[in-house]
Symmetry: C2
Subunit: 229 residues, 2 copies
Amino acid sequence: MAAKASRKPLSRQRVLAAAVGLADAQGIQALTMRRLAAELDVEAMSLYYHLRDKEALLDGVVETVIAEIVAAVGRLEANGGRTDWRTRLRQQFLTARDVMLRHPWAPVLLGSRRTIPADVYTYYDEIVGTLVAAGFSYHLAHRALHAFGSLPLGFAQELFSPASAGGSMEDDAAEADAAAMAETLPHLTAMMAAEIHDAADPTLGWCDGQVEFEFTLDLLLNGLERLHG
Amino acid sequence: MAAKASRKPLSRQRVLAAAVGLADAQGIQALTMRRLAAELDVEAMSLYYHLRDKEALLDGVVETVIAEIVAAVGRLEANGGRTDWRTRLRQQFLTARDVMLRHPWAPVLLGSRRTIPADVYTYYDEIVGTLVAAGFSYHLAHRALHAFGSLPLGFAQELFSPASAGGSMEDDAAEADAAAMAETLPHLTAMMAAEIHDAADPTLGWCDGQVEFEFTLDLLLNGLERLHG
DNA sequence: TGTCCTTACCTTACATCGTATGGTTACCTT
DNA sequence: AAGGTAACCATACGATGTAAGGTAAGGACA
């Protein structure tokens, strides 16, 4: 069959790349199995050989976008020499924003996903590492992470919704071997440990949505009050 | 027919209330026309007498949630006497958060909607009013609005995505008669006017996503730097 | 060389979804 | 009694995700 012979074979990567392209071009609602398959010159069911179902497709799509951010941020680190934590984080967040602006549908999608790609944790681990290296306590670094909210990734959902205000970050992480986690996410691990240890009421867990929310709120209100004078 | 006679007639309000309830109980993905109809002991097509289509349903659902926030905030105003802008906004945002925690699906839904309910503008108008009454310039109030991001409503999308970074707020507003808008949204109207007038490059429009983003970023970084000492 | 297995893709079919079209029923007005 | 209107329903269609099983191509091994 000429058509079949003349095209490159599918692969998870190729399918995901096409999916991102389709969403960019036609919007996320145009990302259906049949349309994606057509884009790849293939029948819909063929996609199921490379992806379990549509949920897996969407997971893969967010994963791809996050990878794009991580790569862009990594390029920053490689080029720019050492700088202070402020300009460093500033550049990182602006870079992330740049990427997200290229995929306007991504923040909402990311916010609506149930499971968070591993790369996100790596990314946040780096942020905590930057802060701690600059002399921040783990406690303040933790608060900072919440305060940043949607800035690092263009969406705030995970730190807001009940699914993880008291939850998903820890649960997801708990699935992995604690030792392995300490290796790949050293700063986050240390931060969690420090926070649990310091907590006045350890039964609350180490993330209390209400407390974080109020901290962020006051941080902003203080800043505005100062500008207002 | 006994079944028909024994039940209350439908209405837009009743349908929307049932929709919110269904989303609360079973998640937003369970909100289908058929399931919603079943919940109301009615056939799916009957819903179309009260709502044009599913988009209108979803618009109505966000509208309902926003109304719940506005009502709760209004109750605050009625009870508590006059207080300074800080505690006022603080209470408002915490109240909004309370409501959103009761509808965990709402922020994502709100963030993915194309049109923003009018109540949102009313709500933001009040916030600007509070700031200006406290002596803030329109310029700083504008920046503050962006900086608050997801705090007032639990989602940050509208201020982030290209759809409105340079757009939707103004476009939507432009639809309405300018005079009517000046009446119902006096502070927002004044703010827009002041900002357009002050803008160095008026061709940019009065919302420049990049500038707002960096302002928020620096506000947070400054605050953290100060806490870090 | 012939048999068989694995990989990659396809055909068919079905449940569920939103909704266009066109009834049908109950009630109100006159 | 006649007609009109408001509210609801039956049927049907196209789109979607996907289960179940089929098929073609290439290598493994005899």
